[in-house]
């Protein structure tokens, strides 16, 4: 990423931000609310286009990635991206088939202690449980770049530990991640560089 400028609603959020992530590295994006953490992640994911500068993923600009390459980037925003009317299983199954994921579902569900909720509608789960389902859904994607926007919100201590484990495992396998949070203390163990907005 070179000399990136991100604007939101006509207001300049951040200017000439440049950093490079190589496989195995994790960036921690910190800053107060409204400092542009989410906008930065949305721009990296390719949802929005930067006002200036370029974001390259393996050589080509992110927002011009052909659809088949987009499978390598997994983005989890504030919204969980789950359908209320579907059960946990239905959501996960759709996510896995749509993103052509290869990971088995059961171990991930077990790690996040969601086994007993598999046939319950998302609408009837708590915010924390919904967040855990969204995280499992993210893990199901065959993605090498993880973009997590405040992944720890609503998570209990056990959930947070699992996320940190996953991040370390992902980095160990040569994956890259950009994680935004306004409570950096807990995630610093898994991060290699910090971007303070």
């Amino acid at each position: 990423m070179t000399s990136l400028e991100v604007r939101r609603g006509g207001i300049g959020l951040l200017r000439d931000l440049s950093f490079k992530l190589s496989p195995g590295q994790t960036a921690l994006v910190t800053g107060a609310n409204g400092s542009g953490k989410s906008s930065l992640l949305r721009v990296i994911a390719g949802l929005a286009v930067p006002a200036a500068g370029r974001i390259d993923w393996r050589g080509s600009a992110v927002h011009r990635l052909p659809p088949e390459d987009r499978g390598e980037i997994a983005y989890l925003g504030h919204l969980d991206g789950l359908k209320q009317e579907f059960t946990v299983d239905e959501n996960l199954e759709f996510c896995r088939s749509f993103w052509k994921g290869r990971e088995p579902v059961e171990p991930l569900v077990a790690e996040m202690r969601l086994e007993s909720y598999r046939h319950r509608n998302i609408r009837r789960l708590s915010a924390g449980q919904r967040r855990r389902v969204a995280l499992v859904c993210m893990r199901l994607k065959p993605a090498r770049l993880w973009l997590l926007d405040e992944p720890l919100t609503n998570l209990d201590t056990r959930g947070t530990e699992v996320v940190i484990e996953w991040l370390k495992g992902h980095a160990a396998e040569g994956g890259i991640a950009v994680v935004s949070t306004h409570r950096p203390k807990r995630l610093e163990t898994a991060a290699s560089i910090e971007v303070a907005l």
Binding site: E5, I11, G12, L13, L14, R15, D16, L17, S18, F19, L28, G31, S35, G36, E188, A191, S192, I193, E194, V195, A196, L197
Partner: protein, 62 residues
């Protein structure tokens, strides 16, 4: 002169049509002019909005 205005009975229609057209044109001319003028005027007293936040810092951890 008056028969010219009467236009063989069609006078009112012709003149009302031209009248409306003239009115619309004059209004648009005035509006366009005012549009540009007050854009310039509003510039003078527009406060300097805070342009962009400070440059983000990138540091290595561990």
């Amino acid at each position: 002169m008056s028969e010219f205005l009467a236009m063989g009975g069609h006078g009112p229609y012709v003149w009302s049509a031209y009248g409306v057209t003239l009115a619309v044109m004059v209004y648009n001319a005035w509006a366009a002019y005012r549009h540009q003028a007050n854009a310039l005027a509003r510039l003078q007293q527009a406060g300097e909005e805070q342009e962009t936040r400070a440059k983000p810092t990138v540091r290595q951890i561990g």
